[in-house]
Symmetry: D2
C-alpha cells in the first residue's frame, strides 16, 4: 500500500479521541500526524494535554506530538472526528470543504440527507452517497462520513444478517450501557455506585432514527428509511466498558432460534471479504453458554470489533429475543470510524 496516510484526530484528548490514538498505533495504512483539541490543550504535548484513561500511557510517538487548536489549519488529508455534538457540524463541514476526508463519530452530521451513516458490514453501498454530497455542496475532494451511536452499532450489526435473511418488522430493545459511553468525567461516581440510571438524554431517539437509516436504501440520489418500528429504553449501569442490550424482534417470516444462530454466526460482509485491517474475522459471535455475553468477559473479543450475541430464544410476544453486547468505544465509536475509512481506502475512494 506504499506510504501511510497522514491522519488528524479531532477531539484528541477526549475519551473517544484517546481510543482513536490507541487504535491507530501501528496501523498499517494510517499514521497519526495531527492532534486537534480545545484551546486549553493547544500548544502542549499530547502527554501533557491529555488525561489518558484507557491504559497506563499513550503510545510514545503520539505522546510527543504537539496538540493544535481547531482554528489552526489541518494538513492531513484524512480526519477522524470525535468532536462533541454541537461543535462537530461546523468544523467537519469546513474541513470537508477544504478537501479533507472526514470520518466522524460525532452525532451532528449523522442524519443529514447526503451524509452516509455507515457500518461497513451493514451498508457499504451507502459509501457512494459522498459523490452526491460533494456535488450538492460544491466540494471537490472532501466529504463527511458518519458512524452511528455506540448503542446503535452493536444492535444493528446483529440485526443486519436477520434483516437480510428473514426480514424484521419490529425491534424492542433495552440497553444497559457502560460509563465510558458518556466520556470523561461523564457520569458521576455518585450516580453509578450501587445504582442504575434509567435515562440517557437523546439516546433512545438516536437508536430509533439511526437504525432506519442504516438498514435503509441508497438509490443513487437519496437514502430511504427502512420500514421497521423500533422502541428503545436506555439505561446506564455500573460497568466501565461494554454495552449490553436485550432485544426482542418481530420477524418478516418465521424462523427458529437455531436458524437465527446460524444466520448470525455465519455472517460475513465486505470488510471480511476485503480483509480490512481492523475488521473482525467474525463480525458476530454467538455464545452458547446460558449466562453470556457479559461485558467483562466478552467486550474485548476480536479486539473489541465484534458484536457478541447470546441467549437466542423464542419470544412469547414478538418472535425472537436475545442479548447483544459490544465494546462501546472500540467498535462502538473510534473503531467504527476507522473501519469506515479502511473501507473507503480499500475501494480507492480516499484518493
Amino acid at each position: 500500500m506504499g506510504e501511510k496516510i497522514d491522519v488528524a484526530v479531532l477531539g484528541a484528548t477526549g475519551s473517544v479521541g484517546q481510543r482513536f490514538v490507541q487504535l491507530l498505533e501501528n496501523h498499517p495504512w494510517f499514521r497519526v500526524a495531527e492532534l486537534v483539541a480545545s484551546e486549553r490543550s493547544a500548544g502542549k504535548s499530547y502527554a501533557e494535554a491529555c488525561d489518558w484513561r484507557i491504559s497506563d500511557a499513550p503510545p510514545e510517538a503520539t505522546a510527543r506530538l504537539k496538540v493544535q487548536h481547531h482554528e489552526e489549519p489541518v494538513k492531513s488529508p484524512l480526519v477522524f472526528s470525535s468532536l462533541p455534538g454541537g461543535l462537530a457540524r461546523e468544523v467537519e463541514t469546513q474541513l470537508a470543504s477544504e478537501g479533507k476526508r472526514v470520518f466522524s463519530n460525532a452525532r451532528d452530521n449523522r442524519m443529514e440527507a447526503d451524509v452516509p451513516l455507515m457500518i461497513p458490514e451493514v451498508n457499504a453501498d451507502h459509501a457512494d452517497a459522498v459523490r452526491v454530497q460533494q456535488k450538492n455542496r460544491g466540494w471537490s475532494d472532501g466529504f463527511v462520513v458518519a458512524n452511528p451511536n455506540c448503542s446503535t452499532i452493536h444492535m444493528v450489526l446483529a440485526l443486519k444478517p436477520i434483516w437480510d435473511a428473514v426480514g424484521i418488522e419490529q425491534v424492542l430493545v433495552t440497553t444497559m450501557q457502560a460509563a465510558s459511553g458518556a466520556g470523561y468525567p461523564g457520569v458521576s461516581s455518585m450516580d453509578l455506585i450501587d445504582n442504575v440510571v434509567p435515562y440517557i438524554g437523546g439516546e433512545e431517539e438516536k437508536m430509533e432514527a439511526e437504525t432506519r437509516k442504516l438498514l435503509g436504501s441508497w438509490n443513487g440520489s437519496a437514502f430511504g428509511n427502512a420500514d421497521l418500528a423500533i422502541s428503545a429504553q436506555c439505561n446506564r449501569v455500573p460497568v466501565r466498558d461494554g454495552h449490553t442490550e436485550t432485544v426482542n424482534l418481530k420477524l418478516g417470516r418465521s424462523a427458529s432460534p437455531e436458524e437465527i444462530v446460524e444466520i448470525l454466526s455465519s455472517y460475513r460482509a465486505e470488510p471480511q471479504q476485503l480483509d480490512l485491517p481492523s475488521a473482525p474475522k467474525h463480525p458476530i459471535i454467538v455464545r452458547s453458554q446460558a449466562d453470556r455475553p457479559q461485558p467483562n468477559l466478552d467486550r474485548n473479543v476480536e479486539h473489541g470489533m465484534a458484536s457478541v450475541v447470546g441467549r437466542v430464544r423464542r419470544c412469547p410476544i414478538l418472535d425472537i429475543k436475545f442479548v447483544v453486547l459490544g465494546h462501546n468505544t472500540v467498535r462502538g465509536a473510534a473503531g467504527a470510524s476507522i473501519l469506515n475509512a479502511e473501507l473507503f481506502h480499500a475501494k480507492g475512494m480516499l484518493v
Copy 2:
C-alpha cells in the same frame, strides 16, 4: 388488637430471613418468638448463628433468641417462611397440616392449584382459596399463602391499576436486578464488579407464570389465569438492593401516558383502606423527573413497600412503556409475606 401473635421465621439466618426479623421488630400485631434454621445454626443464639448483613446488628431482643432446627416442633400459630426452594414445600405443608398459618416467600408452593399467590393490592380476593385448600387437604386451621418472586411483585403492582382501568394484552419486560435477590453469599463479586450477568436461572419463567396467576381470577373453587402474554429478560447488575425494570405494554384500549400516570398515582386498594401496618400509603409512586426511578434514591420510599414508576411514555411498537423499581427484599420478599399476613389478620382469617 390485644396481645401480639407469636411468629416463627423459617430460614431465619438467610438474607430474606434477616429482613423478616428486621421488619417484624416493633410490629404492632406480630412478635418474633421462634427462629428456625439449618442444623449448623441450631442451638446458637441468633446473634451467633446469623451473619447479619442488612444493618449493623439484629434487633436486640431477637439477637438473644435461640435458633431451633426444622425438626423441632414449632409452637407459634403464625409462620413466615424464607426457606430455599426444594426444601420449602415439605416443611411448609407439614406445618400447615399441624394447624399453622404459613406465609411463604419460597417458590415451591406458589403455583399450586389451591395455594393463593398474593399481593394484597392486586388480588386480595384470592385469600378465600385457603378454605378450599384446607378442605382439599383435610386441614382444620392451617394453610399456606405464597407471595410472588421479587421481580414479579413490583411489575405486577404497577400493572394492576392499568389492568383494571384499561386492560393489558401484552407485557414485555427487561429486569436489572440487585445482588441481594440471590441471597448471601449469592453472586460472586467477580461476576458483579464492572459486569452485568444477562441470566438468572428460572426467573423469566417465574415472572411469566406468576403474573398470569396474580392477575387471574378465583371463582370460589379454582384459579383462572389472566389472559395476557408476557415476555421477560432478566439480568443481574452491580446494585445491592432494588430491582429496576423496563416495561412495554400493549393495552386493552387506547390510553395516553398522562392517563396512565393518573391511574397509577391514584391507585389505592384494600391494604390502604384497611390501613394495614406495613401498607404503603401510596402503593405506586410516579416520578416526574426524566432520570428516575433509581435504586439508590427510590428503593426506600414508603419504607421499601411501594413500587416507584417513571418515564411513562408512548411505545412505538406496543402502546406504553415505563420504568418500575422497588426494594426486592422488602416489598419484594419479606415485606410481601408480612403484608399478606396483615391482610388475613385484618379480615379475621388468622383466628
Copy 3:
C-alpha cells in the same frame, strides 16, 4: 427550649448542604428558614434548584422554600456553611461581622488563629475562643466556629479517649474514603469503577494539621498544637458513604488492646452529658467481629453520628493498630456543624 431558632444554610444545594437540610428536619431547637446558594439556583424553589441525591426527595417544608443568593441579606441568627473552599472565608467572615453565629464545614477558617476547630467530644473547651475572636475582630455577637475535615473527625474521635488516658506520640493512618466526600458530581465514575485513586488533593495535609489543633490546648488567649506526629496516606475507593481508616499508634505509655477497647467503649463526653439532640449515646462503638467495621454495615450506627472501631490489636512497630470508620457526610460534615451549634446552644452561647 421555647421557640426554634431560625437557621440559614449556605451552599444549600450541594452534597453537604443537602445533608444539613436532611438532618435539620424536625430538629428540636433549629428550623431551616433560609437556603443560600449560587446565582444559578437563586429564585427557584429548593426542590427545583437542588439535584437531591441522598434520598428520594427533600423534606417537604424545605422543598418549597425559595433559594436566595449570597448577596441577599441573611436574616437568621444562626448560619450553617457548606460553602466551597476559597469562597467560604469571605462570606462567613462577613456574616459573622453582621452578628451571625456561623458554624462552618468549609476548610477556609479552620486553621485561623482565633477560630475554634471543634468536635464537641474532643475539645468542647475551645468554644471560649470565640470571645477572643470577637474581641480581635471587633464583632459584637457574631462568630465563626469550624469543624474538621471528614477524614479527620472520625480518626480524632477515636484518638481522643486514648490521648487522654494513655497519651499518643505518633499516628500513622491510611484512609479509604467514600465518593460522597468529594461532593456531586465529584469523582468521575470512570475513576471509581474497578479502581482506587491513591490521592486526594490537600487531604493528607488537612489530617495532619487539624489533628494537632483538635487535640491541642486553648489557654484563654491562643491555641497550642498537640505534640504528636501524624503521617497520612489518603485514598478514594468505590464506596458511596463512609470513610474507613487503618490507624497505627505509638502510645505515651504501654497499654494492651483490651485496655484500649475499654477506653474507647466507655468514652463519654460533654455532648453525652448534656444530652445534645444529635449526640450519639455512644460516641465510639467497638466491634468484636474480625471483619468489622464495614461501611455498608456500620456507617449508619447511631444515625451516622458515631465512630466505629474494630480490630484493635498490637502493632509490631508502633504499639497499637486498629480500623476506624464513620459516616463522612453526617458525623464527618453536616452533623459535625450541627453538634457544634447544639453545644453552643446548650452552654447558652447562642444568645
Copy 4:
C-alpha cells in the same frame, strides 16, 4: 532451546490455575500438557470443566485437553501448583518425591525450612536451597519451590532495591486488595458493592513472615530471616484485579525521595540480565503523576509483571512513604511461579 518442556498445572480450573493456562499459551520454553483438578472436573475437557473468568475463552489447544484427577499419575517433569492451602503440601511433596520439579503458588510449603520462597529479582540465590531440600528428603531430581502471597510480592519487589541500597528497619503497610485474590466465587458481591472489608484471614501474618524470609539470607545450609519489623493491615476493596498498598518505611540511612525514586527506577536483577521470557524489562516502574498508580490504569503494565510505584515522599514519622500496585494474579501468583521456573531453567537447574 530445543523442544518445549511438558508442564502439568495443578488446580487448573481455579482462578490462579486459569491464569497459569493463559500465561503459558505460546510460552517459548514450556507447554501445557496436563491439567489436574478435583474429582468433579476429572474426565471432562478443560473447556467443559472450567468456568473460565479471565477473558472470553481459554486458549484453544488447552481447551480440548482432558482434565485429570490428583490421584492419576502426572507425567510432565515440570509442575505448576495453584492448589488450595491444606491440600497442597501433601500433593506437592509427593510429586517432588517422584522427581517432579514443582513451582507452587500455594501457601503450604512457603515457610518450610528447606523450601526456597522466591522472587527472582529479590533472592535468586535462594535457588540453591533445593539441593539441600533434595538431600534432606532423599529426593533425586524433584523439588518444591514456592513464591510468596500476592500482597507480599509487589511490596517486596519495591522494597528490595531500597533494602540493598540504603537498608530498611521497619515497614508499615496497608493493603487495598482486589477480589480476584480470593479466587472464584471468593468474596460475595454483597460484601463488595459499596463496601470495604477490613480483614483478610491470615494475610497480615503472611506478609509479615514471608517478607523476612524473602529479604533474608541463604548461607548454603539454612535461611536466615531478615532483621526488619513489619506491620500489615489488609483490606478487600471493590476492585477486580490489582492490589494497591500504602507503605511507610524506616530506612537504614537517610535518603531523599528523589534518591529512592532513582533506586527503584534503575533496578535490574537476574531476570532482566538473563532476559527471561516473562521478566519485565523494568521490574519497578515509578509514576510521576500525583494520583498514580491506579489498578485500572497500571495493573497491566509490562504484561502485569511489574510493580508500579508512585507518590514517593517523606513520612513525618518513619522516613519514606509511597504507594505500590501490581497485578495480583499475574506477577502476584501464576506469573511469579512461571518466572521462578524460567530462572531455574536458565540456570540449568531443570535438567
